[in-house]
Protein backbone atom coordinates (compact mmCIF):
# COMPACT_ATOMS: atom_id res chain seq x y z
CA UNK A 1 0.00 0.00 0.00
CA UNK A 2 1.33 3.43 -0.92
CA UNK A 3 1.01 6.57 1.14
CA UNK A 4 -1.79 7.72 -1.15
CA UNK A 5 -1.72 10.07 -4.08
CA UNK A 6 0.25 13.30 -3.83
CA UNK A 7 -0.86 16.16 -6.06
CA UNK A 8 1.81 18.83 -6.20
CA UNK A 9 1.11 22.10 -7.95
CA UNK A 10 3.41 22.30 -10.97
CA UNK A 11 3.64 26.09 -11.13
CA UNK A 12 1.97 28.80 -9.08
CA UNK A 13 -1.55 29.52 -10.25
CA UNK A 14 -2.23 32.90 -11.87
CA UNK A 15 -5.98 32.47 -12.11
CA UNK A 16 -8.65 30.89 -9.96
CA UNK A 17 -9.21 27.20 -10.45
CA UNK A 18 -12.42 25.30 -9.78
CA UNK A 19 -11.66 21.73 -8.69
CA UNK A 20 -15.25 20.71 -7.99
CA UNK A 21 -15.14 17.80 -10.43
CA UNK A 22 -11.85 16.31 -9.36
CA UNK A 23 -13.07 14.35 -6.35
CA UNK A 24 -16.77 14.19 -7.13
CA UNK A 25 -18.35 10.75 -7.11
CA UNK A 26 -16.19 7.68 -6.71
CA UNK A 27 -12.47 8.37 -6.88
CA UNK A 28 -10.65 6.23 -4.37
CA UNK A 29 -10.50 3.23 -6.69
CA UNK A 30 -9.21 5.24 -9.66
CA UNK A 31 -5.61 5.22 -10.78
CA UNK A 32 -3.48 8.33 -10.74
CA UNK A 33 -3.71 8.44 -14.52
CA UNK A 34 -7.49 8.37 -14.44
CA UNK A 35 -7.63 11.11 -11.86
CA UNK A 36 -5.17 13.16 -13.89
CA UNK A 37 -7.74 13.29 -16.68
CA UNK A 38 -10.46 14.80 -14.49
CA UNK A 39 -11.16 18.42 -15.40
CA UNK A 40 -10.18 21.54 -13.58
CA UNK A 41 -12.01 24.67 -14.65
CA UNK A 42 -9.66 27.61 -14.87
CA UNK A 43 -11.20 31.04 -14.59
CA UNK A 44 -9.78 32.27 -17.91
CA UNK A 45 -8.52 29.19 -19.72
CA UNK A 46 -11.48 26.88 -19.14
CA UNK A 47 -11.34 23.14 -18.66
CA UNK A 48 -7.89 21.65 -18.20
CA UNK A 49 -6.94 18.16 -17.06
CA UNK A 50 -5.85 17.98 -13.43
CA UNK A 51 -2.60 16.37 -14.52
CA UNK A 52 -1.56 19.52 -16.38
CA UNK A 53 -1.81 21.61 -13.26
CA UNK A 54 -0.70 19.11 -10.66
CA UNK A 55 2.07 16.58 -10.76
CA UNK A 56 0.56 13.37 -9.44
CA UNK A 57 2.63 10.74 -7.68
CA UNK A 58 1.53 7.51 -6.06
CA UNK A 59 -1.89 5.92 -6.21
CA UNK A 60 -4.98 7.15 -4.35
CA UNK A 61 -5.85 4.05 -2.31
CA UNK A 62 -8.34 6.17 -0.44
CA UNK A 63 -6.02 9.08 0.26
CA UNK A 64 -4.94 12.18 -1.59
CA UNK A 65 -2.72 15.04 -0.51
CA UNK A 66 -2.55 18.42 -2.22
CA UNK A 67 0.66 20.39 -1.92
CA UNK A 68 1.49 23.92 -3.05
CA UNK A 69 0.13 27.44 -2.87
CA UNK A 70 -3.54 26.56 -3.22
CA UNK A 71 -5.27 29.77 -2.22
CA UNK A 72 -6.64 30.29 -5.73
CA UNK A 73 -8.25 26.88 -5.69
CA UNK A 74 -11.99 26.83 -5.12
CA UNK A 75 -14.42 24.02 -4.45
CA UNK A 76 -11.83 21.37 -3.78
CA UNK A 77 -13.57 18.21 -2.58
CA UNK A 78 -17.00 19.55 -3.47
CA UNK A 79 -19.43 16.69 -3.06
CA UNK A 80 -16.70 14.45 -1.65
CA UNK A 81 -18.22 11.22 -0.43
CA UNK A 82 -15.26 8.96 0.26
CA UNK A 83 -11.61 8.91 1.15
CA UNK A 84 -9.27 11.19 3.02
CA UNK A 85 -8.11 14.40 1.40
CA UNK A 86 -5.39 16.46 3.00
CA UNK A 87 -4.40 19.93 1.92
CA UNK A 88 -0.97 21.22 2.92
CA UNK A 89 -1.77 24.87 2.85
CA UNK A 90 -4.75 27.14 2.47
CA UNK A 91 -7.66 26.93 0.05
CA UNK A 92 -9.94 29.40 -1.64
CA UNK A 93 -13.68 29.44 -1.38
CA UNK A 94 -16.22 26.67 -1.01
CA UNK A 95 -13.81 23.93 0.01
CA UNK A 96 -15.74 20.76 0.76
CA UNK A 97 -18.89 22.27 -0.67
CA UNK A 98 -21.82 19.95 0.08
CA UNK A 99 -19.46 17.34 1.48
CA UNK A 100 -21.21 13.99 1.68
CA UNK A 101 -18.62 11.67 3.21
CA UNK A 102 -14.95 11.13 3.77
CA UNK A 103 -12.61 13.68 5.26
CA UNK A 104 -11.19 16.95 4.02
CA UNK A 105 -8.36 18.13 6.25
CA UNK A 106 -7.09 21.61 5.43
CA UNK A 107 -3.94 22.39 7.30
CA UNK A 108 -4.11 26.09 6.58
CA UNK A 109 -7.03 28.45 6.17
CA UNK A 110 -10.20 28.06 4.15
CA UNK A 111 -11.98 30.79 2.28
CA UNK A 112 -15.66 31.60 2.48
CA UNK A 113 -18.38 28.97 2.56
CA UNK A 114 -16.24 25.97 3.43
CA UNK A 115 -18.52 22.96 3.78
CA UNK A 116 -21.49 25.07 2.83
CA UNK A 117 -24.45 24.41 0.56
CA UNK A 118 -24.06 25.39 -3.06
CA UNK A 119 -25.40 28.87 -3.62
CA UNK A 120 -29.12 28.72 -4.23
CA UNK A 121 -29.47 25.45 -2.32
CA UNK A 122 -30.69 25.10 1.24
CA UNK A 123 -29.07 21.76 1.98
CA UNK A 124 -25.33 21.58 2.29
CA UNK A 125 -23.18 18.87 3.82
CA UNK A 126 -24.85 15.52 4.22
CA UNK A 127 -21.92 13.75 5.86
CA UNK A 128 -18.20 13.58 6.25
CA UNK A 129 -15.78 15.67 8.22
CA UNK A 130 -14.23 18.96 7.21
CA UNK A 131 -11.30 20.05 9.31
CA UNK A 132 -9.91 23.54 8.82
CA UNK A 133 -6.91 23.88 11.07
CA UNK A 134 -6.53 27.57 10.45
CA UNK A 135 -9.20 30.20 10.04
CA UNK A 136 -12.32 29.84 7.95
CA UNK A 137 -14.12 32.49 5.96
CA UNK A 138 -17.75 33.42 6.29
CA UNK A 139 -20.58 30.91 6.31
CA UNK A 140 -18.61 27.76 7.06
CA UNK A 141 -21.00 24.83 7.23
CA UNK A 142 -23.93 26.87 5.95
CA UNK A 143 -26.98 24.70 5.37
CA UNK A 144 -25.34 21.52 6.63
CA UNK A 145 -27.69 18.61 7.12
CA UNK A 146 -25.28 16.14 8.68
CA UNK A 147 -21.58 15.85 9.36
CA UNK A 148 -18.91 17.85 11.08
CA UNK A 149 -17.09 21.09 10.37
CA UNK A 150 -14.20 22.02 12.63
CA UNK A 151 -12.47 25.36 12.48
CA UNK A 152 -9.21 25.40 14.39
CA UNK A 153 -8.82 29.17 14.27
CA UNK A 154 -11.28 31.96 13.85
CA UNK A 155 -14.54 31.33 12.03
CA UNK A 156 -15.93 34.10 9.88
CA UNK A 157 -19.40 35.51 10.20
CA UNK A 158 -22.46 33.31 10.01
CA UNK A 159 -20.77 29.96 10.66
CA UNK A 160 -23.47 27.30 10.50
CA UNK A 161 -25.86 29.63 8.74
CA UNK A 162 -29.20 27.89 8.21
CA UNK A 163 -27.96 24.56 9.59
CA UNK A 164 -30.43 21.73 9.40
CA UNK A 165 -28.39 19.39 11.62
CA UNK A 166 -24.79 18.39 12.28
CA UNK A 167 -21.98 20.04 14.19
CA UNK A 168 -19.80 23.07 13.69
CA UNK A 169 -16.96 23.26 16.20
CA UNK A 170 -14.94 26.46 16.42
CA UNK A 171 -11.73 26.47 18.45
CA UNK A 172 -11.05 30.15 17.91
CA UNK A 173 -13.48 33.01 18.07
CA UNK A 174 -16.67 32.86 16.07
CA UNK A 175 -17.77 35.78 13.92
CA UNK A 176 -21.14 37.42 14.09
CA UNK A 177 -24.38 35.53 13.73
CA UNK A 178 -23.09 31.98 14.15
CA UNK A 179 -25.97 29.55 13.76
CA UNK A 180 -28.30 32.19 12.37
CA UNK A 181 -31.48 30.68 10.97
CA UNK A 182 -30.51 27.17 11.98
CA UNK A 183 -33.28 24.63 12.35
CA UNK A 184 -31.32 22.05 14.30
CA UNK A 185 -27.68 21.29 14.72
CA UNK A 186 -25.00 22.50 17.07
CA UNK A 187 -22.45 25.24 16.98
CA UNK A 188 -19.82 24.48 19.59
CA UNK A 189 -17.73 27.50 20.47
CA UNK A 190 -14.55 26.94 22.42
CA UNK A 191 -13.54 30.54 21.95
CA UNK A 192 -15.46 33.78 22.09
CA UNK A 193 -18.91 33.93 20.58
CA UNK A 194 -21.87 36.25 20.71
CA UNK A 195 -25.02 34.31 19.92
CA UNK A 196 -27.49 35.97 17.59
CA UNK A 197 -30.36 37.77 19.29
CA UNK A 198 -32.69 35.07 18.02
CA UNK A 199 -31.02 32.55 20.35
CA UNK A 200 -32.16 32.20 23.95
CA UNK A 201 -29.96 31.24 26.87
CA UNK A 202 -31.04 27.98 28.50
CA UNK A 203 -28.50 26.89 31.09
CA UNK A 204 -24.85 26.27 31.90
CA UNK A 205 -24.00 22.59 32.06
CA UNK A 206 -21.61 19.82 31.04
CA UNK A 207 -22.79 18.07 27.87
CA UNK A 208 -21.43 14.54 27.97
CA UNK A 209 -21.58 14.12 24.21
CA UNK A 210 -19.00 16.88 23.81
CA UNK A 211 -16.54 14.74 25.72
CA UNK A 212 -16.90 12.12 23.02
CA UNK A 213 -16.74 14.58 20.18
CA UNK A 214 -13.81 16.57 21.49
CA UNK A 215 -11.88 13.51 22.58
CA UNK A 216 -12.20 12.22 19.06
CA UNK A 217 -11.06 15.50 17.57
CA UNK A 218 -8.00 15.43 19.77
CA UNK A 219 -7.24 11.79 19.08
CA UNK A 220 -8.10 11.53 15.42
CA UNK A 221 -6.90 14.91 14.21
CA UNK A 222 -4.55 16.09 16.92
CA UNK A 223 -6.58 19.23 17.47
CA UNK A 224 -5.74 21.22 20.59
CA UNK A 225 -8.44 19.91 22.91
CA UNK A 226 -7.63 20.85 26.47
CA UNK A 227 -8.83 19.35 29.74
CA UNK A 228 -10.81 22.52 30.33
CA UNK A 229 -12.77 21.80 27.18
CA UNK A 230 -13.54 18.24 28.30
CA UNK A 231 -14.26 18.96 31.91
CA UNK A 232 -15.63 22.45 31.61
CA UNK A 233 -19.03 24.02 31.46
CA UNK A 234 -20.92 25.23 28.44
CA UNK A 235 -23.58 27.86 28.13
CA UNK A 236 -26.42 26.47 26.09
CA UNK A 237 -28.39 28.76 23.83
CA UNK A 238 -31.41 27.48 21.94
CA UNK A 239 -32.24 28.78 18.52
CA UNK A 240 -32.77 29.98 16.00
CA UNK A 241 -36.12 31.00 17.46
CA UNK A 242 -36.97 32.54 14.11
CA UNK A 243 -36.86 28.98 12.80
CA UNK A 244 -37.61 25.69 14.57
CA UNK A 245 -35.58 26.62 17.62
CA UNK A 246 -34.20 23.10 17.87
CA UNK A 247 -30.64 24.13 17.23
CA UNK A 248 -28.13 25.15 19.83
CA UNK A 249 -24.99 27.05 20.52
CA UNK A 250 -22.80 25.48 23.17
CA UNK A 251 -20.36 28.09 24.32
CA UNK A 252 -17.52 27.00 26.57
CA UNK A 253 -17.29 29.15 29.63
CA UNK A 254 -14.57 29.58 32.22
CA UNK A 255 -17.36 30.25 34.74
Amino acid sequence: MSGGLVARLRTPLRQRADLSEVLAGSWTALSAAELARRPVHLERDGATPLGEIFELNGEPEGRMRFVGDLELIDRLAAGLNEGEVTVEGSLGSEAGLALAGGTLDIQGDAGPRAGAAPLGFKRGMTGGELIVRGAAGAEAGAGMRRGLVVVGGRAGDRAGLGMIAGNVVVFGSAGADAGLWSKRGSVVALGAITPPPTYSYACTYQPVHLRLLLTRLGGRYGLPVRPRHLNGFYRRYSGDMAELGKGEILAWTAK
Partner: protein, 298 residues
Protein backbone atom coordinates in the same frame (compact mmCIF):
# COMPACT_ATOMS: atom_id res chain seq x y z
CA UNK B 1 -8.75 -36.48 39.54
CA UNK B 2 -7.94 -34.64 42.75
CA UNK B 3 -6.81 -31.08 43.32
CA UNK B 4 -5.32 -30.40 46.74
CA UNK B 5 -7.16 -33.45 47.97
CA UNK B 6 -10.53 -32.41 46.52
CA UNK B 7 -12.13 -34.97 44.25
CA UNK B 8 -13.13 -33.64 40.83
CA UNK B 9 -16.07 -35.66 39.64
CA UNK B 10 -16.11 -37.03 36.13
CA UNK B 11 -19.08 -34.99 35.01
CA UNK B 12 -19.91 -31.84 33.13
CA UNK B 13 -21.78 -28.58 33.38
CA UNK B 14 -24.47 -28.21 30.78
CA UNK B 15 -24.98 -24.70 29.50
CA UNK B 16 -27.18 -22.91 27.02
CA UNK B 17 -26.82 -20.47 24.20
CA UNK B 18 -28.07 -17.05 25.26
CA UNK B 19 -28.11 -13.60 23.75
CA UNK B 20 -25.74 -11.20 25.38
CA UNK B 21 -25.25 -7.45 25.35
CA UNK B 22 -22.43 -5.54 26.98
CA UNK B 23 -23.49 -2.27 28.54
CA UNK B 24 -20.96 0.38 29.46
CA UNK B 25 -22.14 2.83 32.08
CA UNK B 26 -20.14 5.93 32.87
CA UNK B 27 -20.77 8.64 35.40
CA UNK B 28 -19.12 11.56 37.07
CA UNK B 29 -17.81 9.39 39.89
CA UNK B 30 -17.59 5.76 40.86
CA UNK B 31 -20.35 6.34 43.36
CA UNK B 32 -22.87 6.89 40.59
CA UNK B 33 -21.40 4.28 38.30
CA UNK B 34 -21.93 1.76 41.06
CA UNK B 35 -25.37 3.06 41.90
CA UNK B 36 -26.58 2.59 38.34
CA UNK B 37 -24.80 -0.72 37.86
CA UNK B 38 -26.26 -2.26 40.99
CA UNK B 39 -29.77 -1.25 40.01
CA UNK B 40 -29.34 -2.38 36.42
CA UNK B 41 -28.10 -5.80 37.48
CA UNK B 42 -30.55 -6.18 40.33
CA UNK B 43 -33.13 -8.98 40.24
CA UNK B 44 -31.35 -10.56 37.30
CA UNK B 45 -30.18 -13.92 38.57
CA UNK B 46 -32.06 -16.29 36.30
CA UNK B 47 -34.23 -16.01 33.23
CA UNK B 48 -36.59 -18.43 34.95
CA UNK B 49 -37.89 -15.76 37.28
CA UNK B 50 -36.25 -12.52 36.21
CA UNK B 51 -36.48 -12.71 32.41
CA UNK B 52 -32.86 -11.71 32.29
CA UNK B 53 -29.48 -12.59 33.74
CA UNK B 54 -27.03 -9.80 34.36
CA UNK B 55 -23.91 -8.96 36.26
CA UNK B 56 -21.03 -6.56 36.47
CA UNK B 57 -18.21 -7.74 34.24
CA UNK B 58 -15.54 -5.33 35.46
CA UNK B 59 -14.79 -1.78 36.44
CA UNK B 60 -13.47 0.50 33.73
CA UNK B 61 -10.97 3.25 34.26
CA UNK B 62 -11.57 6.66 32.74
CA UNK B 63 -9.06 5.78 30.04
CA UNK B 64 -11.17 2.83 28.95
CA UNK B 65 -14.52 4.55 28.54
CA UNK B 66 -15.90 6.44 25.56
CA UNK B 67 -16.35 9.69 27.46
CA UNK B 68 -13.25 9.53 29.63
CA UNK B 69 -15.15 9.14 32.88
CA UNK B 70 -15.11 6.22 35.29
CA UNK B 71 -17.33 3.38 34.28
CA UNK B 72 -18.23 -0.25 34.40
CA UNK B 73 -19.13 -2.92 31.91
CA UNK B 74 -22.12 -5.14 32.43
CA UNK B 75 -23.26 -8.25 30.63
CA UNK B 76 -26.98 -8.69 30.23
CA UNK B 77 -28.34 -11.93 28.83
CA UNK B 78 -31.64 -13.36 27.69
CA UNK B 79 -32.74 -16.40 25.78
CA UNK B 80 -33.56 -14.51 22.57
CA UNK B 81 -32.63 -11.38 20.66
CA UNK B 82 -36.07 -9.78 20.74
CA UNK B 83 -36.31 -10.29 24.44
CA UNK B 84 -32.88 -8.80 24.90
CA UNK B 85 -33.93 -5.59 23.17
CA UNK B 86 -36.96 -5.27 25.45
CA UNK B 87 -34.98 -5.91 28.59
CA UNK B 88 -32.26 -3.46 27.61
CA UNK B 89 -34.76 -0.71 27.05
CA UNK B 90 -36.61 -1.47 30.28
CA UNK B 91 -33.57 -1.73 32.46
CA UNK B 92 -31.49 1.09 31.02
CA UNK B 93 -34.57 3.27 30.96
CA UNK B 94 -35.43 2.62 34.56
CA UNK B 95 -32.03 2.36 36.16
CA UNK B 96 -29.47 4.29 34.13
CA UNK B 97 -31.52 7.07 32.60
CA UNK B 98 -32.81 7.80 36.09
CA UNK B 99 -29.42 7.83 37.76
CA UNK B 100 -27.60 11.16 38.16
CA UNK B 101 -24.70 11.96 35.82
CA UNK B 102 -24.68 8.64 33.95
CA UNK B 103 -24.29 7.93 30.26
CA UNK B 104 -24.73 4.57 28.58
CA UNK B 105 -22.79 3.02 25.71
CA UNK B 106 -22.64 -0.18 23.72
CA UNK B 107 -19.78 -2.41 24.76
CA UNK B 108 -19.92 -4.69 21.72
CA UNK B 109 -19.13 -2.27 18.88
CA UNK B 110 -17.99 -5.03 16.53
CA UNK B 111 -21.14 -7.11 16.87
CA UNK B 112 -23.10 -7.10 13.63
CA UNK B 113 -26.42 -7.96 15.28
CA UNK B 114 -27.70 -4.75 16.78
CA UNK B 115 -30.81 -3.77 18.69
CA UNK B 116 -32.30 -0.36 19.27
CA UNK B 117 -31.94 1.07 22.76
CA UNK B 118 -31.41 4.80 22.51
CA UNK B 119 -33.73 4.77 19.55
CA UNK B 120 -36.50 3.66 21.91
CA UNK B 121 -35.50 5.60 25.00
CA UNK B 122 -35.32 8.84 23.06
CA UNK B 123 -39.09 9.12 23.18
CA UNK B 124 -38.79 9.98 26.84
CA UNK B 125 -37.46 13.26 25.51
CA UNK B 126 -40.94 14.09 24.26
CA UNK B 127 -39.69 15.66 21.07
CA UNK B 128 -36.94 17.67 22.77
CA UNK B 129 -34.34 14.92 22.31
CA UNK B 130 -31.44 15.49 19.95
CA UNK B 131 -29.29 12.98 18.14
CA UNK B 132 -25.60 13.31 17.43
CA UNK B 133 -23.49 11.20 15.14
CA UNK B 134 -19.92 10.99 16.35
CA UNK B 135 -17.42 8.88 14.42
CA UNK B 136 -20.28 7.21 12.60
CA UNK B 137 -22.14 6.23 15.75
CA UNK B 138 -25.48 7.78 16.62
CA UNK B 139 -26.19 8.88 20.15
CA UNK B 140 -29.30 10.36 21.70
CA UNK B 141 -29.25 13.28 24.05
CA UNK B 142 -32.33 13.07 26.19
CA UNK B 143 -33.09 16.15 28.24
CA UNK B 144 -33.61 15.41 31.93
CA UNK B 145 -34.02 17.65 34.93
CA UNK B 146 -30.35 17.31 35.83
CA UNK B 147 -29.11 18.09 32.32
CA UNK B 148 -28.91 15.44 29.61
CA UNK B 149 -28.79 11.68 29.47
CA UNK B 150 -26.58 10.41 26.67
CA UNK B 151 -27.30 6.94 25.31
CA UNK B 152 -26.09 5.13 22.24
CA UNK B 153 -28.74 4.41 19.66
CA UNK B 154 -27.97 0.74 19.07
CA UNK B 155 -26.32 -1.95 21.10
CA UNK B 156 -24.55 -5.00 19.72
CA UNK B 157 -25.60 -8.49 20.65
CA UNK B 158 -23.78 -11.79 20.47
CA UNK B 159 -24.64 -15.39 21.03
CA UNK B 160 -23.18 -16.05 24.45
CA UNK B 161 -23.31 -18.91 26.90
CA UNK B 162 -25.34 -19.08 30.08
CA UNK B 163 -25.35 -21.67 32.81
CA UNK B 164 -21.77 -22.70 33.20
CA UNK B 165 -21.61 -24.06 36.73
CA UNK B 166 -19.99 -26.19 39.32
CA UNK B 167 -21.02 -27.47 42.71
CA UNK B 168 -18.90 -27.27 45.82
CA UNK B 169 -19.59 -30.24 48.07
CA UNK B 170 -18.23 -29.55 51.53
CA UNK B 171 -18.13 -31.06 54.97
CA UNK B 172 -19.59 -27.96 56.62
CA UNK B 173 -21.48 -24.80 55.69
CA UNK B 174 -18.43 -22.74 56.65
CA UNK B 175 -16.19 -24.74 54.38
CA UNK B 176 -18.65 -24.50 51.52
CA UNK B 177 -19.06 -20.77 51.95
CA UNK B 178 -15.34 -20.14 52.24
CA UNK B 179 -14.66 -22.11 49.10
CA UNK B 180 -17.48 -20.40 47.24
CA UNK B 181 -16.22 -16.99 48.24
CA UNK B 182 -12.74 -17.85 47.07
CA UNK B 183 -14.12 -19.15 43.80
CA UNK B 184 -16.27 -16.08 43.21
CA UNK B 185 -13.35 -13.80 43.94
CA UNK B 186 -11.16 -15.66 41.49
CA UNK B 187 -13.84 -15.66 38.80
CA UNK B 188 -14.72 -11.99 39.20
CA UNK B 189 -11.53 -11.07 37.42
CA UNK B 190 -12.19 -13.26 34.41
CA UNK B 191 -12.93 -11.16 31.32
CA UNK B 192 -16.07 -11.83 29.33
CA UNK B 193 -17.94 -13.46 32.19
CA UNK B 194 -20.39 -12.62 34.92
CA UNK B 195 -21.67 -14.38 37.99
CA UNK B 196 -25.36 -13.46 37.99
CA UNK B 197 -26.29 -14.76 41.44
CA UNK B 198 -25.83 -12.95 44.76
CA UNK B 199 -22.15 -12.68 45.47
CA UNK B 200 -21.68 -15.07 42.58
CA UNK B 201 -23.02 -17.96 44.61
CA UNK B 202 -26.24 -20.01 44.51
CA UNK B 203 -27.48 -22.01 47.45
CA UNK B 204 -30.68 -23.15 45.77
CA UNK B 205 -29.63 -25.13 42.76
CA UNK B 206 -32.61 -26.43 40.85
CA UNK B 207 -33.65 -29.42 38.86
CA UNK B 208 -35.91 -29.32 35.83
CA UNK B 209 -39.61 -29.55 36.69
CA UNK B 210 -41.28 -30.57 39.92
CA UNK B 211 -42.30 -33.84 41.51
CA UNK B 212 -45.73 -32.48 42.36
CA UNK B 213 -46.67 -29.41 40.35
CA UNK B 214 -46.60 -29.91 36.61
CA UNK B 215 -46.59 -26.24 35.75
CA UNK B 216 -43.35 -25.55 37.63
CA UNK B 217 -40.34 -25.49 35.36
CA UNK B 218 -37.82 -25.79 38.17
CA UNK B 219 -37.73 -26.91 41.75
CA UNK B 220 -35.15 -27.66 44.41
CA UNK B 221 -32.34 -29.96 43.45
CA UNK B 222 -33.21 -32.51 46.11
CA UNK B 223 -30.38 -34.85 45.13
CA UNK B 224 -27.93 -32.25 46.40
CA UNK B 225 -29.83 -31.12 49.50
CA UNK B 226 -28.09 -32.57 52.56
CA UNK B 227 -31.25 -32.36 54.63
CA UNK B 228 -32.99 -34.71 52.22
CA UNK B 229 -30.29 -37.35 52.14
CA UNK B 230 -32.48 -39.80 54.00
CA UNK B 231 -35.65 -39.21 51.99
CA UNK B 232 -34.54 -38.82 48.39
CA UNK B 233 -32.08 -40.35 45.95
CA UNK B 234 -29.12 -38.33 47.15
CA UNK B 235 -26.07 -37.60 45.05
CA UNK B 236 -24.05 -36.57 48.08
CA UNK B 237 -21.18 -38.48 49.67
CA UNK B 238 -21.76 -39.23 53.34
CA UNK B 239 -19.36 -36.59 54.60
CA UNK B 240 -21.03 -33.72 52.76
CA UNK B 241 -23.21 -31.40 54.81
CA UNK B 242 -23.45 -28.32 52.61
CA UNK B 243 -23.41 -27.60 48.88
CA UNK B 244 -23.06 -24.29 47.06
CA UNK B 245 -23.16 -23.68 43.34
CA UNK B 246 -21.33 -21.17 41.23
CA UNK B 247 -23.09 -20.17 38.01
CA UNK B 248 -21.16 -18.35 35.34
CA UNK B 249 -22.37 -16.78 32.09
CA UNK B 250 -20.18 -15.37 29.41
CA UNK B 251 -19.68 -14.09 25.93
CA UNK B 252 -18.36 -17.44 24.68
CA UNK B 253 -17.50 -20.96 25.80
CA UNK B 254 -13.75 -20.40 26.21
CA UNK B 255 -14.43 -17.53 28.60
CA UNK B 256 -16.70 -19.76 30.66
CA UNK B 257 -14.17 -22.57 30.70
CA UNK B 258 -11.42 -20.21 31.77
CA UNK B 259 -13.58 -18.79 34.52
CA UNK B 260 -14.61 -22.25 35.76
CA UNK B 261 -10.99 -23.32 35.84
CA UNK B 262 -10.05 -20.35 37.99
CA UNK B 263 -13.05 -20.87 40.23
CA UNK B 264 -12.61 -24.57 40.77
CA UNK B 265 -8.96 -24.13 41.45
CA UNK B 266 -9.72 -21.52 44.09
CA UNK B 267 -12.52 -23.61 45.60
CA UNK B 268 -10.34 -26.63 46.31
CA UNK B 269 -9.94 -25.80 50.00
CA UNK B 270 -9.72 -27.75 53.19
CA UNK B 271 -13.17 -28.99 54.07
CA UNK B 272 -14.25 -29.38 50.47
CA UNK B 273 -14.95 -32.99 49.60
CA UNK B 274 -15.68 -32.81 45.90
CA UNK B 275 -16.47 -30.56 42.96
CA UNK B 276 -19.38 -31.60 40.81
CA UNK B 277 -21.52 -29.88 38.19
CA UNK B 278 -25.13 -29.59 37.15
CA UNK B 279 -26.40 -31.06 33.93
CA UNK B 280 -29.50 -32.53 32.38
CA UNK B 281 -27.90 -35.57 30.86
CA UNK B 282 -26.57 -33.53 28.00
CA UNK B 283 -29.94 -33.34 26.28
CA UNK B 284 -30.90 -29.71 26.84
CA UNK B 285 -27.88 -27.50 26.49
CA UNK B 286 -25.40 -27.55 23.63
CA UNK B 287 -22.42 -26.47 25.71
CA UNK B 288 -20.83 -29.14 27.89
CA UNK B 289 -18.03 -28.15 30.22
CA UNK B 290 -16.33 -31.31 31.40
CA UNK B 291 -14.72 -30.60 34.73
CA UNK B 292 -11.75 -32.88 34.32
CA UNK B 293 -10.99 -31.61 30.84
CA UNK B 294 -11.19 -28.04 32.05
CA UNK B 295 -8.94 -28.70 35.02
CA UNK B 296 -6.51 -30.71 32.94
CA UNK B 297 -5.93 -27.52 31.00
CA UNK B 298 -4.98 -25.59 34.14
Amino acid sequence: MKIRGVFIEDTFAEAFTMRVARIVITARSNRWVRAAALKLTGFATSVIGCKVEAGIERALSARETPDGRPGTSILLMTMGKDDLAKRLVERIGQTVLTCPTTACFDGLPDATDRVGVGSALRFFGDGFQMSKVIAGVRYWRIPVMEGEFLVQEKFGTLKGVGGGNFLILARSPDAALGAAEAAADAMAAQPGTILPFPGGVVRSGSKVGSRRIKSMIASTNDAYCPTLRAVTKSALPDSVNSVLEIVVNGVDAPSIASSMRAGIHAACHDGVVAISAGNYGGKLGPHHFHLRQIMAGA
